[in-house]
Amino acid sequence: MVVDHLSKRYGERAVVDDLSFTVAPGEVFGLLGPNGAGKTTTVEILEGFRRPDAGSVQVLGLDPWRDGRALKPRVGVMLQDGGLYPGIKAHEVLRQYAGFFAEPESPEGLLELVGLTDVASSHVRRLSGGQRQRLALALALVGRPELVFLDEPTAGMDPHARTRTWELVRSLADGGATVLLTTHFMDEAERLCDRVAIVDQGRLVALGAPGELGAGLASSETRFSARPGLDRDSLAGALAMAVDAIVEDEPGQYRIVAEATPALVADLACWLRDRDEPIGDLRAGRRTLEEVFLRLTNDGALK
């Protein structure tokens, strides 16, 4: 899948602005960004719903706008709002879509796979938000697609269903399918994606493996949680190396802005031990994807 200098305007506003990236076969690729960043518009162009204003896209070597007929049998789509009629039963809609493909998965097997066997005969209107999401996911898979688009696949799912969905997406990729997903959840992107693109206001601001993105940012830091109101000056004095700042972001949530060396962590641990302060959690080193995301998309500092 190739996105090449893609732009799309709605009136005066550029929703997608000179966006380029490629997705390799068998890859799980995440498109991240705040609301209104142009994620869904990008996905809808790749799905063939919208036409680019400038630039081009290629999906499985085809143009989704012009070659829809050839492309659709090979692609699975999960829309952000599932596109399910409230009066239809879960197994009916799967059977319906199975009828559109030459060699579909069995509807029963799919219901089992997404954990909806018990509600197979329930109307969509009786399903919970998470169950509808799982049904929409099953619909995306019914045609044994080579490529799957998942627009916020785990929105509204409980933690159990999310974990199960992650396993499912990984197994798709292991089976050779390519997956493009959008998500708000950074832990999802970290767990699931081989590579992610972070977009903001239609522009690409970062691209790479989730683990690499944090390393690219200059300063590292050490975060820990402990009792609120610790004496931060005393802590700074106890550290062998100079630190830029020790910040209490929220009561009990501390951040030491300095290179996260083992020596620094040892000094921190000793200081806490000497005062018999229990420690909630500790993370040192590169930023999490969430931190990278907030930093890149928040205040425009790096744009």
Binding site: E47, G48, F49, R69, K72, P73, V75, V77, L79, D81, G82, G83, L84, Y85, P86, G87, I88, E92, V93, R95, Q96, Y97, A98, G99, F100, F101, L139, G143
Partner: protein
């Protein structure tokens, strides 16, 4: 190709039969009008044999209810819920979706026609046998015109507006479509307006071919042909697949 159309037809039929209100407008009301007015002596329709007048009228009413009212409401809400959009991402092409919708409308109409004709014959209706084949042709033409009108509403208005307008038009055409009450009995101005609309055009043409010794008024064929040709063109230009 046919397999995907059939998969869609099956769903269309299941959903239509599941909607109680569509059965009401499709069967209960037409049968009720036919049975009640052909037997009720206290209602004077100003015609010699009520069943001869009423049967073509309720057949037109049945076509209108399925092709326009049910189709418009179902499609309008499918559009609202993003069902049409989701189908657009599947290998079912728009042409096949339309074919499936028309097939299921025709199937429901066949059921309606059987029920209505059996009821009418039980009420001593004796149609002109030579008119049966032309009548089926008129039913198909009327289906195209009314289905296009229904899809025009569904593809341009919000779902609630489609619901209200489709039901409103059902009442209007029932009243001034020559379906339950003769046009000639109405004020001249109303009659002229009614004659320009597809409801009266279909019911009067059906009445002409099915009634022994009656002629088909030429205005009704011209008006019906005009709606049958014009509305699909307008609808195909204005229909939007997503509600925004």
């Amino acid at each position: 190709m046919t397999r995907s159309v059939l998969a869609q037809v099956r769903v269309e039929l299941a959903l239509t039969l599941r909607r109680g209100e569509s059965l009401l407008v499709a069967l209960v009301i037409p049968v009720g009008i036919l049975a009640f007015f052909s037997k009720a002596d206290f209602v004077d329709l100003g015609v010699e044999t009520p069943v001869e007048f009423l049967t073509p009228g309720v057949l037109a009413l049945a076509v209108m209810s399925s092709a326009m009212v049910s189709l418009a409401i179902a499609t309008g809400f499918e559009r609202r819920y993003g069902v049409l959009k989701r189908l657009g991402a599947s290998p079912l092409t728009r042409g096949r979706l339309l074919a499936a919708k028309i097939t299921s409308v025709l199937a429901i109409e066949a059921l309606q026609i059987v029920v209505l004709v059996v009821t009418a014959v039980a009420l001593d209706w004796r149609p002109d046998a030579a008119g049966i084949v032309p009548a089926l042709g008129l039913v198909v033409a009327g289906t195209v015109a009314f289905a296009s009108l229904g899809l025009l509403m569904a593809g341009t208005l919000r779902a609630e507006a489609t619901l209200a307008l489709a039901n409103g038009l059902y009442l209007v055409f029932t009243a001034i479509g020559g379906m339950a009450y003769p046009l000639e009995q109405m004020p001249r101005a109303v009659e002229l307006v009614a004659q320009a609309l597809p409801g009266a055009a279909l019911s009067e043409s059906l009445r002409g071919v099915l009634t022994d010794g009656a002629d088909v008024p030429s205005w009704s064929l011209i008006v019906l042909a005009a709606w049958t040709i014009a509305t699909p063109v307008v609808t195909s230009r204005l229909f939007r697949w997503e509600e925004r």
